[in-house]
Symmetry: C2
Subunit: 108 residues, 2 copies
Amino acid sequence: MKTSNLFSGIPNGLREEIFETLLKTDTFTLERIVSSGQATPPGQWYDQETHEWVILLKGHAGLVFEGEEEVYRLHPGDHVRIPAHRRHRVEWTEAGQTTVWLALHYRE
Amino acid sequence: MKTSNLFSGIPNGLREEIFETLLKTDTFTLERIVSSGQATPPGQWYDQETHEWVILLKGHAGLVFEGEEEVYRLHPGDHVRIPAHRRHRVEWTEAGQTTVWLALHYRE
């Protein structure tokens, strides 16, 4: 059997976020996302066809949902289910360190 | 939106492993498993109808596959895909601390 590590294989000094598919079937995609200070561009929202369950596992990030004032400050272990078409954005991720997410995009 | 934390809500002094469903659809179940020194009973194997992708996120554990000599020592972030009916056992989990796993059981 082959084991991998979610926190390994991350290049230093990332200029862009990395999206890497870990597992994919007809109904879901599991991906690792590595951020390093990136955020969703101002005024833009994610509006996704699929539901998403996402967990932050390293670093910190701020998550915002359209129509809500609150910026959710996510710490390692924090997870949230985002229904399809629930518009949201990543307000910030921590600069100068990597933030690692695990995202499960799925259809019911 | 409601966020939860994977490392929260763990009782002290667990006598048994905790299996908690986080998300369930027709094709997959995502669960949190919390161990504290438990192992698969001697001579027993997991033989599952579904595939499993599992990641260890806190603590340490030893994983064995039938027919392999190696005991895979899992550290936080280590993940492995276990095909359905690939017999395996948890040889040990760290005593005196909690070991937290995230397991995705799925059909293709």
